[in-house]
Amino acid sequence: MKKLFVLLMSSIVLVSCNNSQKSSEDSTETKAVSTQSVRIKGSETVLPISEKAVQVYLKDHEGANLMVTGGGSGVGISSLLNKSTDIAQTSRKIKFSEKQKIEADGRNLKEVIIAYDALAVIVHPENKVNNLTREQLEDIFTGKIKNWSELGGDDLEILPYSRETSSGTYEFFKDNVMSGKNYASGIMSMPANGSIIQSVGQTKGAISYVGVAYINQSVQPVSVSFDQGETFVAPTAENVKNESYPIVRPLYYYYLVTPEQPEKEFMDFILSDEGQKIVEEVGYISIR
């Protein structure tokens, strides 16, 4: 039995060594043969853009080999670090610690904004409060304002929902609407935009935020003011376009600058007129 065990272990080690050798050979080979193999990985928010763009791109570029996978912004960036992706798609700016890790061994990271996403603040349709200032939003999500009556609504407990702590949306909202302050401890959080809409639609005192593309009849978007209540702007497509709506975040592609530039053609495509048209079709805002 013991002998068998040793034999087994050594064979496993051998096999795994073999495999790793093989895969490293494989990757160098593909690089040499074709510069067209591009892997894109990361944020679920950016995923629809990349998927659609790759679909269209492949129509004109037969033989090109592009792969898109989700997993989250953090997964995308750590894959970039261990070279299992060529482009990392993220809905948040790269963290300082992540950037340091990547640039530690002399590699150069390039950041490109490929689209914008507007966030709408939403409440239950029966809620009478239609206008909120940035300061009020900050107080709501940090837990200082607890009742809708303080904001001119009904006597009802305010129930803020946030996105999951790790989503790029969560961090963006914190940095830009709550001036970097932390959410109230014990805030409820939902795993996806869809479940936020569902929960806000069926909870009277609820308030939350989602990408503008997700809004539907069951919730009511709120106009927000970032100038202490002088002008309130509704999150309509028009206001987002003419840049009067304040809660807009960039979506990024990150890649390493290498002499081979496997990603160049696709990057050119996504930033072209055609690529940006796709961005708008999917429901986001083009960078132009």
């Binding site: 300082f96 959080s189 069926q202």
Partner: protein
């Protein structure tokens, strides 16, 4: 004839070896996974409690030497506004982040690649007595009146006894797992309270009372329940059960621990029913007949003969049901509201360990403190399930002896 015998023997030997091999392989994989969990997680206690690559700086006249993560959070959330609260002088706290430097200097003044930035940061810090600056090490401020605050590492106490889980708080994330552990236990406990009477009831019905036809119909139905993907249960819970709970108990929200318990109870039912039913059906016919022959009614037979005989099997069913509930991820993630607070009742939103891992691991920077904290959570869950399956094993051993 003789040749055939040799063939068969060789074949037997090969099968035997293959089976041993697969067993060994499985054990190796399990050991590998648990070692992986622990080694990835344990690094947390060597990680500084401030975000990696950053440090906190104060004016050298400030008497404060170090701040706990909670204190740092209170300062940066403007909950505490004077140094007096932490034993310093009565000077207002002035929170400074890197971006704020542009309010003092234009970009030209900082040099082309920000070479002058450390110097200018030093100037700002020297000028303001009550300042606390959160700056990257790359631009560590230079100046005589600048003092760097000592950074501690995340302690065992902070982790296991902390009551705040705010892993993305800047500058000092809080990794207190107590609310998550209690949330997991609460939801699973609630699920068992609902599932046990129901599950045992169905098991008794199926093994003792149901006719052949009913049993043939019910059994596959119950087993079908186990085959439904958990995300479907989650959706069902969010759309149907949550509003029901909200209305029935007149609560402000429907996503509560109770909602999670109800969904988990439904999910644990098939396990409980089939294991308990098997145990009861194994009661020897002779014992039942003896009981009936003594004039006991059907119910007396079930109550006094069948259930005591199947006791250890029923206990195993309970333990396996708990195991199912504790590890469930997706359904719970969707229906419990995921608020990381210390749970006080069933009518509040709670956050469980599996839901936390599922929701956060994808976006956590690999290798960072948050990532390690999540792996350690996985290790805690692993210990939980280990305890559960060991006790299930012990219970069923008792049955055989």
């Amino acid at each position: 004839m003789h040749k055939q015998k040799i063939h068969r023997r060789i074949l037997d030997k090969i099968t035997e070896k293959l089976l041993t091999l697969s067993g060994a392989l499985t054990s190796i994989i399990i050991v590998f996974i648990s070692v992986f969990l622990f080694t990835e997680g344990i690094g947390l206690f060597n990680t500084p409690d401030i975000e990696e690559g950053y440090a906190l700086y104060v004016n050298s006249e400030n008497r404060i030497d170090n701040l706990s993560p909670e204190e740092t959070k209170q300062i940066f959330d403007a909950e505490v506004t004077s140094w007096k609260a932490f034993g310093g002088e009565d000077v207002a706290i002035n929170v400074f982040r890197l971006d704020a430097i542009f309010n003092f200097y234009s970009e030209n003044e900082l040099g082309e690649n920000y070479e002058l930035l450390p110097e200018k940061l030093g100037e700002v810090i020297s000028r303001e007595k009550g300042i606390i600056a959160f700056l990257p090490n790359e631009y560590a401020p230079q100046g005589l009146q600048v003092r760097k605050l000592e950074t501690a590492t995340v302690t065992l106490e902070d982790y296991f006894l902390g009551t705040d889980w705010i892993p993305t708080a800047t500058p000092a994330p809080l990794f207190g797992v107590l609310p998550l552990v209690l949330g997991t236990l609460l939801v699973s406990f609630g699920a068992m309270i609902i599932a046990l009477p129901l599950g045992l009831g169905v098991a008794i019905y199926l093994s003792e009372l149901a006719g052949n036809r009913e049993r043939k119909l019910m059994k596959p139905l119950v087993e079908l329940l186990a085959g439904i993907p958990s995300v479907v249960y989650g959706f069902f819970g969010l759309v149907i059960v949550a509003p029901l709970v909200q209305k029935a108990f007149n609560l402000p929200v429907g996503e509560t621990a109770l909602t999670g318990s109800i969904i988990l109870a439904i999910m644990a039912l098939p396990t409980i029913i089939s294991v308990a039913e098997d145990a009861m059906r194994n009661t020897p016919l002779g014992m039942r007949e003896a009981s009936l022959a003594l004039g006991a009614t059907k119910w007396q037979t079930i109550y006094k003969v069948v259930i005591p005989y199947a006791k250890s099997g029923i206990s195993a069913a309970i333990v396996l049901g708990i195991g199912r509930a504790i590890g469930e991820t997706m359904a719970v993630l969707m229906v419990t509201g995921n608020a990381a607070v210390m749970p006080t009742s069933f009518f509040e939103s709670v956050r469980t360990i599996p839901a936390t891992i599922a929701a956060e691991l994808g976006e956590a920077p690999a290798g960072g403190a948050h990532y390690q904290a999540l792996f350690l959570l996985g290790a805690i869950l692993f210990v939980f399930t280990l305890i559960i399956s060991v006790s299930a094993e012990l219970i069923s051993k008792k049955r055989h002896s």
